[in-house]
């Protein structure tokens, strides 16, 4: 993929809708822009995700916007996703996305990354996994950890809403102990799986836990994770994006909930290997961060 796929042939410009012309003219493709892409672009540039079919006020939609705005080179990025609420948004993104079977996302991403390295040896292609907590922590835990053990050069992002939301509210491994849901009436019997810690012990170069309450912070973490994954090995981001419906909040209360959890279950956790730390300093000098 390259930016060329968004250049409209002049013969067809008159029949193309404005939104596609905007995507060519006014989106922040890294290959074309002089300045670094970022969150600030969301205010006046064409977004890579505009429409989505998630619930009103869903923090996932906001978090995905931040992530897409922060990808270093979206035109050279392939996003792999899995079954869950997130998969409802992916058909609307103007990037290459691959939907894998529930839980298979890291295995699929590993294969894609390896093939891309072979097929395009002179280009940097980023592979980013984006899946929910069910796919990452429960059903796909094996593949997720295996990709870490094998040092696959991919970034894994877990959108943790602490529940199987779009199937009616069943508890997941990521649900906190004692939490009651519609389909978990007795309350969760064991502790939340500390996936961010498993990522560290499984060999990730970079593992961060945070909420999506601060857009710039999400963007910074994403950028660091992608850059490290390019050079050194697997990186992991555990991002709290609460399901406001399942925990009984209104559409405008998602941000409040994330801010609350910034001080509680999702208090900052950041692990960076010394090699990754040194590499990030280099990136900063080059102006990549």
């Amino acid at each position: 993929m390259s930016v060329d796929i968004y250049k409209i042939n002049p013969e067809f410009r008159d029949i193309m809708p404005q939104e596609i012309i905007d995507l060519e003219d006014n989106a922040t493709w890294a290959g074309e822009s002089v300045e670094k892409r970022g969150i600030n672009d969301l205010t006046d540039k064409k977004e890579i995700l505009e429409e989505h079919s998630l619930c009103a006020g869903c923090p996932e939609a906001a978090a995905l916007r931040y992530i897409l705005a922060a990808l270093p080179t979206p035109e050279e990025t392939i996003i792999v996703n899995s079954t869950g609420c997130t998969s409802l948004m992916f058909p609307h993104i103007a990037l290459h996305t691959v939907h894998s079977l529930f839980g298979n996302q890291n295995a699929v991403a590993s294969g894609i990354k390896r093939v891309l390295e072979w097929r395009f040896p002179d280009k940097v292609k980023d592979v980013v996994v984006l899946a929910g907590d069910g796919a990452t922590v429960d059903i796909g835990l094996d593949y997720t950890l295996q990709s870490f053990f094998r040092q696959e050069k991919i970034t894994t992002i877990c959108f943790d809403n602490e529940v199987y939301a779009n199937t009616g509210g069943q508890e997941s491994g990521s649900t906190p102990k004692g939490q009651v849901f519609k389909m978990a009436p007795k309350g969760k019997a064991f502790d939340k799986v500390p996936m961010w810690e498993l990522a560290v012990t499984s060999g990730c170069q970079y593992s961060v836990k945070l909420t999506a309450s601060a857009p710039k912070k999400v963007a910074k973490v994403l950028r660091e994770a992608v850059l490290i994954a390019r050079e050194l090995g697997p990186t992991y981001i555990h991002l709290y994006t609460p399901c406001i419906l399942e925990i009984g909040l209104a559409a405008n209360e998602g941000l409040w909930e994330m801010k609350e959890q910034d001080k509680d279950r999702f208090a900052d956790f950041k692990f960076v290997t010394p090699e990754a730390e040194a590499y990030l300093k280099e990136c900063k000098k080059k102006g990549l961060l």
Partner: protein, 189 residues
């Protein structure tokens, strides 16, 4: 079963159920028959020139200037539309659109029948649509509308179209335009 439409609104909208397969190399598929490419080109041109609201649906492979061949094809398709007196409605991407598409100006492979119904299109050409989405769209059009579909395909063609010509690149498209001009003259259009 209703008795309207090219596929008679078959509850089995898949041409393969009727034993139809894509044409062999150098040949074309016209309804149920394998014919010479030129015969199919002539028939496609005739149908387009004589049907109400004939429309070309260019897909992403020709709408975007992603390589030199795509640029050449774009010029040829524009010319093709002029020769066939056809409208052009783009299938610019395959993302489902919510709440709904604007059927007047766009076509989406997930519900192509909406555009065909809305514009009362009786003949159309799919060109530059990736095969997997052409297959989806053509099946829906076949079962839901009475539109005559033609697929100009760079690979092996589409059995779900009423007429399909395969291995079509800029050279073959230029040939089609030449034939279409002849047919147009014959019909006095």
């Amino acid at each position: 079963m209703a008795n309207l439409g090219p596929a008679y609104y078959s509850p089995y909208p898949v041409a393969a159920y009727d034993g139809l397969l894509t044409p062999p190399e150098g040949k074309a598929l016209l309804l149920t028959d394998i014919v010479d490419e030129e015969v199919a080109m002539r028939e496609i041109a005739r149908v387009m020139l004589t049907s109400e609201n004939a429309t070309i649906f260019p897909g992403p492979q020709v709408l975007y200037a992603w390589n030199d061949e795509a640029k050449k094809k774009a010029t040829l398709i524009k010319e093709m539309a002029e020769v066939l007196n056809a409208k052009m409605i783009p299938m610019y991407d395959y993302r489902p659109k919510y709440p709904k598409i604007d059927a007047e100006v766009e076509i989406n492979p997930n519900h192509p029948n909406l555009t065909i119904w809305h514009n009362n299109i009786k003949a159309c050409i799919f060109v530059g649509v990736h095969c997997h989405y052409a297959n989806v769209a053509l099946k829906i059009v076949r079962s839901e509308t009475d539109c005559y579909t033609a697929a100009i395909c760079g690979l092996s063609g589409h059995e779900d179209a009423m007429a399909t010509i395969r291995d079509q690149h800029s050279e073959e498209m230029a040939k089609f335009i030449k034939i279409a001009k002849e047919v147009k003259q014959e019909l006095g259009k």
